[in-house]
């Protein structure tokens, strides 16, 4: 913490880590694979970009082990845009995270979209000055990630599908569990913590405030302005769009439309207007057609 006597500046505190996510609220974070896409995203009004070599739809199509992106590619995107740049590390791969911190990315996504490096432990994110965002499918998972130092949560959905049903399931689950927790008496919170497999102090904090202590975005399957607005009406603080933009017919127009839909999520007239003339949406895969081993949301524990 800051020393009031000397007013010496302090970096890497939970407040500045969580604070950046607060500034991104109400915005759209877009996956980009090159400088051209990054510029399209910035021009469209993205609040941040996620630099990665393949969007989830391609990772899914091409298979194989998926890893952190090439530092050259990440550097080129950091130089190309003025908005924050995020990049992904594999679950548990703390050396990829060290490299990303050395590249001075603004946020690290410890992501199930890449192949996990550790099937037991996630990264100890308190060891880093750069903030982390982590995926979650339920409240217990979100609280475990926060305990490990995550400064932002994104509900996972099912990346690379263009099918919003899993994103819906996860945000409904997380917000439903928060409401259930808030309704419990103080006596019941000890068992609630046991059932959620999360620390009691954090469980008590969520029960008292009725919300997560960090910002929560939604990810995984958002492909249209209506999808983005749906997630916002469900209580998301903002939206990640991965394959949905650059796998569609007219990425620049769709990117702008998704940004506007995220701001005016409660105004059907605006949503109708921005949904017009966008060309083809990404083709998409129904999550129910995906065999269980190919579901990315099951990665992470």
């Amino acid at each position: 913490m800051t020393d009031a006597q000397t007013s010496k500046p302090v970096t890497g505190t939970p407040l500045v880590k969580r604070g950046l996510a607060e500034m991104l609220k109400g915005g759209v974070i877009m996956d980009v694979v090159n400088v051209e896409q990054a510029k399209i995203a910035e021009d469209a009004g993205a609040v941040a970009v996620m630099a990665l070599e393949r969007v989830p739809a391609d990772i899914r199509a091409q298979g194989g082990v998926s890893r952190m992106s090439d530092p050259d590619m990440i550097d080129s995107i950091i130089s190309a845009v003025s908005i924050p740049v995020m990049a992904k590390a594999r679950i548990g791969h703390f050396v990829e995270a060290q490299i990303l911190q050395s590249l001075k990315v603004d946020y690290i996504d410890e992501s199930e979209v890449l192949s996990p490096a550790d099937y037991v432990n996630h990264i100890n994110k308190w060891n880093f000055d750069v903030p982390f965002v982590c995926g979650a499918t339920n409240l217990g998972e979100a609280l475990r990630r926060i305990t490990e130092g995550a400064a932002m949560i994104r509900s996972k959905g099912e990346a690379g599908t263009g099918d919003v049903s899993e994103a819906m399931k996860h945000i409904r689950t997380i917000s439903g569990e928060i409401r259930a927790l808030a309704a419990k008496s103080e006596d019941e919170l000890y068992v609630a913590a046991k059932e959620l497999q999360a620390p009691y102090e954090l469980v008590r904090e969520v029960a008292a405030s009725g919300k997560l202590p960090v910002v929560m975005f939604v990810a995984g399957g958002v492909a249209t302005p209506a999808d983005a607005a749906l997630m916002m009406q469900m209580g998301a603080d903002g939206v990640f769009v991965g394959s949905g933009i650059f796998k569609s017919g007219d990425p620049a127009a769709r990117a702008k439309a998704v940004v506007k839909a995220t701001t005016f999520f409660n105004d059907p007239d605006v949503l109708a207007q921005v949904s017009r003339g966008l060309g083809e949406a990404m083709v998409g895969i129904n999550v129910s057609d995906l065999p269980a081993p190919h579901r990315l949301a099951d990665r992470g524990w």
Partner: protein, 194 residues
């Protein structure tokens, strides 16, 4: 006198500003439309991404009305991205970036570098007793101040992080995420005296 402060709610941490106003007993509404802008006695422009706020303000026909109001003496308070939006000149912006104006200053975006360089510090602030606890998050700084601009706060190294000119108050940092209410109180007094 009952007083309602607007918080520009296109993007960013507008809820934290509303909560800070609530904490000091001041009513607020979120402003996304001209009809909402007409109801308020002053406007807070929150932290967020200045490039995004500009685009959304233009897209929703708020840009010119806010600009006109500010130039006609409407009380306005910008934090971080909000300071950028009030600067007459923006340095290190994207092509075509412009704000509402109101402060005859040059403001440099992301002046401290990457998120890794974001920090907390305690500062003196003119009109506030004691130190202000401030969170600087990918923060801008004021590089140049014009005549008639009052400097309210500086870092130890002399860089300017708080300014006021007539009706416009702008700061580089975020009192609203740090549990600091006194600068909002200052702005509310400014509205009452307007």
């Amino acid at each position: 006198m009952s007083l309602t402060v607007g918080v520009l709610a296109l993007q960013g941490d507008f809820r934290e500003h509303a909560a800070t106003l609530h904490a000091i007993g001041v009513e607020s509404i979120e402003v996304r439309r001209i009809s909402e802008l007409e109801k308020v006695s002053g406007l807070i422009i929150p932290g967020g991404e200045s490039t995004v706020m500009q685009k959304l303000a233009v897209a929703y026909d708020l840009f010119e009305p806010i600009k006109n109001k500010i130039h006609n003496g409407f009380p306005v308070f910008g934090t971080c991205a909000g300071l950028i939006m009030l600067a007459e000149e923006i340095l290190d912006g994207i092509p075509g970036q412009a704000g509402f104006g109101g402060l005859d200053v040059s403001v440099r975006r992301n002046a401290f570098g990457h998120q890794l360089d974001s920090f907390e510090a305690d500062l003196e602030f003119a009109g506030v007793d004691g130190l202000v606890h401030a969170a600087f998050i990918r923060a801008p700084i004021v590089d140049r101040v014009g005549a008639g601009v009052e400097v309210l706060s500086k870092l130890d190294d002399g860089r300017i992080v708080g300014v006021r000119q007539n009706n416009a108050l702008g700061i580089s940092f975020h009192p609203e995420v740090a549990g600091e209410t006194r600068i909002h109180e200052l702005f509310v007094r400014q509205i009452k005296n307007a």
